[in-house]
Amino acid sequence: MDTSLVNFAQAIISGILLGGFFALASVGLSLIFGVQRILNVAHGAFIVLAAFVTIQFSLVATPSLHLNPLASLGLDFMLIGGLGVCVYFLLIRRIENSGFEAPLLATFGLSVFLEYIIQSGLGPIPSIDPSHGQGAQAEHQIYSSTSLIVGPLFVQEPELISFLIAIIIIPILHLFLSRTYYGKAIRATAQDWLAAEFSGIDIRKTRLLSFALGSALAGVAGGMFAFTNSVTPLLGDTYLLPIILVVIILGGVGSMIGTLIGGFVVGLLLSFSELFDSSYLFRFGFQPDVGYLITFLVFLIVLMVRPNGLFGKGVVK
């Protein structure tokens, strides 16, 4: 195969896999935003916190208990889901009916708080896989990702795993929302919470459920994030949150399948933009990595044409 064809095929594979991870990282926020109209801007910090949990788990449990580091995903799900429950009771519940701004500011404060704890309380974060560079010494190597190589193409194992988790979890979430009583009650609460309440639905339960579930999914995404990136405390805000917002807005807020597709779109944009020779942009002072630039440009153009995203109607459908 000639190189440009190989590069093209590789960009598709990497983009789809990366997109799966972005969808996984976004779907919890899409659920919370769609149901409660709460833009939880601490979602990125939740993911980084889970990544930190997975790294610590791997440092402790893998050598001494001989557990696969991937077992930490269950822990992430429960811990960050539990964090979601606490945040819901202590913070969100008191302000959720008071418009859009109060929850936005409150979760922004929460995000700063969590990042401060991660940064100063938990110290420098080692990397699970030393091939990511900074951090761990060789003796800290607890997980080395294997690459699956098919002819000229390759796939990183953790990327494949997070892709598989995304394409399993997101359709299940879609079925949960469209088929089960609690799923429908969550959608009813999203569409008209007062009507839900006088139809006999306990909206305190449905809101808690969606906030906890959305947070728990951030936990799973954070666990996978630790396997493919070297994690720094502020990555939630500088890298993840902007991409997550693009994904859920492109996919349509509250649409789970839309979020999956939005993830693929952004993943492909980022991986294809690496194919372009961007060195000339350097002369104008741009970073050589133009992926972000292209992604946000496409995002803005889509919003000009379709303000509710590619598939969205605004709330959980």
Partner: protein, 235 residues
Amino acid sequence: MSLSINSLSTSYANLQVLWDVSLHVDKGEVVSLIGANGAGKSTLLKSIMAIIRYRNGSIVFEGQSLKGLYPHQVVARGIAYVPEGRRLFPSMSVEENLRMGAPRKCEDLDSRLDSVFSLFPAVNARKKQSASTLSGGEQQMVAIGRALMTKPRMLLLDELSFGLSPKVFERVLDAIEETNHLGVSILLAEQNSERALEVSKRAYIMENGRISSEGKSQELINDSRVREAYLGIVD
């Protein structure tokens, strides 16, 4: 007595809207609540449903106070509510809207659905359709159906006639009378409907947040002051 309200006062923030309202509905009765725009009819129904908290007075249903409950708990006590403007879940199908009225564990779900469909055959024909695509009359029927899915012993109806042609309103009133014959007590709030007075046994007239008169519907219909002010009939 099914529902009894004593000296109820309700306020929005600092604005007092209901003043010393007392009203009762006996078991199996149809009672109408008549009043002009802004008289406070909706506020009274919302107070019963615990959508608005009230300061003074009491609301008692089947011998138990409803104070301090959440709306879904009032529903669980046996009161259902059809609000002004229907408030269906727009992105859900008709059937899903109805499903939301029933509790999570509902053994007789199918028979509840069947009784709504037999009351409103027009709804049965549209059960897979999204609620936002229904006509006003169909939406009203689904809103009543959703309320009936809770299997209430008392039904609160706010401005049923709104936006309905006289013919469809008649159809809806027939369904309400049919429901009443099955033993459900009815409180019907209407702005100025002679028809509401005709289907009810007793009625209350509300003015500026107070009950200004009450009595047998037949007597109120014949009262010239009521005819002029609320039925728009000048003798």
